[in-house]
């Protein structure tokens, strides 16, 4: 038997052909260029606002908000380790809150994604609860939890749980029922079925839910830390305001944004790692 080899161009099968490194580099450079322009514009606006503050006799006391003082304060609190202590306390609370949200939200999501009855029963209560700002629970949380830390972790969990529940349920509903038949036929049961089939099948949706949950958790964190505790980034903002250190205050705000961006980037990377959908 003879075989004729038909040479296929790189476009013959875009899935199999690695995209040429040249084009990838160009795309990367373009992306980086746009990012630099975006950051530059933001810094420029900020700098102009700072000039305006200093030029205005009524507002000159707020000169600390300008980029110069802020960035030097940021450098200083980062160097002294003070920033990392505050961020560490906050990250611990967000981590614990998110951990609880996952521990409770994923099983709940599996339940309502897997059972029509559970979905129907939970629909109204969950939609109702979802619409309540987690901060509305603050007085209740303070009464119920013995420590401020406990109350804050609860508020974060209450904020983060809903996207996780709904994303998990959504992912589960997309599973091809035939996958269960095949797995059962091959001896898959109970926990092994969950770990080997269900979790990878919903991983992308689940991580997207966690990413959204982390987003709200990070937003809720700051107001939650305004109360009671004497550590964390939220407390640090309040503290800087009370001591009129506006440069430090702005530095903390910047740090909150940057840390949030990094956390979000980590989850995005995980989503890319575990994605398998050819669509979306």
């Amino acid at each position: 038997m003879t075989t004729t080899v038909i040479p296929l161009g790189p476009s013959a099968n875009p899935d199999l052909a690695p995209s040429p490194p040249r084009r990838q580099m160009v795309a990367l450079a373009r992306g980086a260029g746009f990012a630099v322009v975006g950051i530059g514009l933001t810094l420029g606006l900020w700098w102009l606002a700072g000039l305006w503050l200093v030029a205005n006799p009524n507002l000159v006391a707020f000169g600390g908000f300008a980029p110069g003082p802020t960035l030097s304060a940021l450098w200083q609190i980062a160097q002294s380790g003070w920033l990392w202590n505050a961020a560490g306390a906050s990250l611990y609370r967000v981590g614990a809150g998110l951990g609880w949200a996952i521990a409770v939200g994923v099983p709940l999501g599996i339940l309502i994604g897997g059972s029509r009855a559970a979905a129907a029963v939970s629909h109204l209560p969950f939609q109702f609860l979802r619409m309540i700002s987690p901060l509305a629970w603050m007085p209740v949380a303070v009464i119920v939890f013995a420590t401020w830390n406990g109350a804050i972790i609860f508020l974060i969990a209450a904020a983060a749980i809903w996207p996780i529940v709904f994303a998990t349920a959504n992912g589960l509903r997309k599973i091809d029922p035939h996958w269960f038949t095949v797995a059962r036929n091959l001896g898959g049961r109970g926990f092994a079925l969950l770990r080997v089939i269900v979790l990878p099948a919903i991983a992308q949706d689940l991580l997207t839910g966690i990413r959204l949950g982390l987003g709200v958790a990070w937003i809720v964190l700051v107001p939650a830390e305004f109360l009671g505790v004497t550590s964390g980034l939220g407390f640090a903002i309040n503290d800087a305001r009370d001591t009129l250190e506006y440069d430090r205050l702005t530095a903390i705000v910047i740090a909150i944004g940057v840390i949030g961006l990094v956390l979000d980037g980590c989850l995005l990377a995980m989503i890319r790692r575990y994605r398998w959908h050819s669509s979306d």
Partner: protein, 265 residues
């Protein structure tokens, strides 16, 4: 040449099944000796898949029971596996991971790589072990599904129209592959199909199931001396006989052929 040491002996007695209001199977009795290659043919909705699912322990019958090697079937087992119409591969897995899945469920993953290697060779996918299954063609995906059903070293292979979603040439290749593998491994095979030619090519024995509810209306042995089963002339008498059995069963008696397009050889 064929040793029946690896093969299962299947007995089906008094098997009936209904889905709520729909009677699907009624009083099926069947004895499948070890190493036999049985094809079950019948019209759509005749209960063929139901029968196969019951054989595999995926559905519990309403009445009657199945015994495999003297044991009553009560659930899935690594000793028999089904290959379905759709490959139903898990899109996040590589070819190797797909093949090893059954061993993973049995906590026998350590043997996985060696077994997968051998099976991929057998089904003609060597060299593709680390490719994601989404990058395979339909025929290659069915080959993975075949290797996956063989990984737990079953003695009974159950096939539910495994080739019907493939184009004619690919189907032809896969039929040959399955025929060769089943006889090399000396397995008992139960093949459900719409395709009479496929049944004749692959089976020693053909059972025709009538519809609503499914009952055995004919049970024929394929002449073992038939030399070339792809020879349309040689198989014509058997094919005509099967067709007439189909025709006799159809309610209106109008169209005698289950799927004319598929058989326009």
């Amino acid at each position: 040449m064929v040793s029946n040491m690896n093969a299962s002996h299947v007995t089906v007695s008094g098997l009936s099944h209904r889905y709520r209001a729909t009677p699907a199977l009624d009083g099926i009795d069947l004895d499948i000796p070890a190493g036999q290659r049985l094809a079950i043919v019948g019209r759509s909705g005749g209960g063929k898949s139901t029968l196969l699912h019951i054989l595999a322990g995926l559905i519990r019958p309403t009445a009657g029971h199945v015994q495999i090697d003297g044991e009553t079937v009560s659930g899935p087992s690594p000793r028999w596996n089904v290959m379905f119409q759709q490959a139903s591969l898990y899109p996040w897995m590589s070819v190797r991971q797909s093949v090893e899945l059954g061993l993973r469920f049995l906590n026998r993953r350590r043997q996985g790589d060696a077994i997968a290697e051998r099976l991929l060779d057998l089904v003609g996918l060597d060299g593709l072990a680390d490719v994601n299954v989404q990058k395979l063609s339909g025929g290659q995906q069915q080959r993975v599904a075949l290797a996956r059903s063989l990984a737990t070293e079953p003695t009974l292979l159950l096939l539910d129209e495994p080739f019907s979603s493939l184009d004619a040439l690919t189907r032809h290749d896969l039929q040959d592959a399955v025929g060769r593998i089943v006889s090399d491994l000396g397995l008992t095979m139960v093949l459900v199909t719409h395709d009479l030619d496929e049944a004749i090519v692959l089976a020693d024995r053909i059972v025709v199931i009538g519809e609503q509810p499914g009952r055995i209306v004919a049970d024929l042995l394929v002449d073992p001396t038939l030399s070339d089963r792809r020879d349309t002339h040689a198989i014509a008498p058997l094919r005509d006989k099967l067709l007439s059995l189909f025709g006799g069963q159809s309610a209106g008696g109008g169209e005698p052929h289950p799927h004319p397009a598929r058989h326009a050889a």
